[in-house]
Assembly symmetry: C2
Homo-oligomer: 120 residues x 2
């Protein structure tokens, strides 16, 4: 379930026009017509992008009469950042452990060199 | 340029198998064969997923002889989190401003009610 949701959110943001719509809705709610204005595409094309964003839960549309403004639902970002952070932390810990092992090997090498130096 | 990169990263993570590969590589490097083992798909299918991940810069493959293990490149996560955080913060600030306006309207209403109460 969460898996599908996450796939839909990542897929929704894999398009520059849709990311731009999200960026604009982070400043203010807007109707489809207002959102379509700056783009060189039809209102239909923007509606299609909005459907992808609403299916992913990133955007909601109020039911109120004609205007039906679109609104950003930023909590959905949490889903992504939680996923990203989990594996980023895991990868960083792994690199830290590798660094520690390398540093230890370095120390051992230096100790061996010192012993050899003292014996010669 | 960064726009295309971001689209590729988001698209790469829009697939549960690819996210699983990233999760596994966050623990240890692995060859294509090792990565393919737990999945019910061909090595070819896994190679295809890996190509999408390497094109997005999320995974690199060492050039060393037969093994050519795959390695996670977690810095690419930064691209995404920077983008996400920017609009999350913007949206949160916006909601904070709305809350402040609503609180102010509430205070004014209360003051008006108090004046009416005192006059009656």
């Amino acid at each position: 379930m969460a898996d599908d949701r996450l796939s839909r959110v990542f897929a929704a943001l894999a398009d520059p026009t849709r990311r731009d719509i999200v960026a604009r809705l982070s400043i203010t709610d807007a109707t489809v017509g207002e959102l379509a204005e700056p783009y060189d595409v039809s209102v239909q094309a923007v509606s299609k992008h909005l459907r992808v964003l609403t299916d992913a839960g990133l955007v909601s549309r109020s039911r109120d009469a004609q205007r039906r403004p679109c609104r950003l639902e930023p909590e959905v970002f949490d889903l992504m950042t939680k996923w990203i952070e989990r594996y980023r932390v895991q990868a960083e810990e792994r690199f830290r452990r590798l660094d520690a092992v390398l540093a230890e090997m370095d120390d051992e090498q230096r100790a061996t060199d010192d012993r050899r130096g003292a014996a010669s």
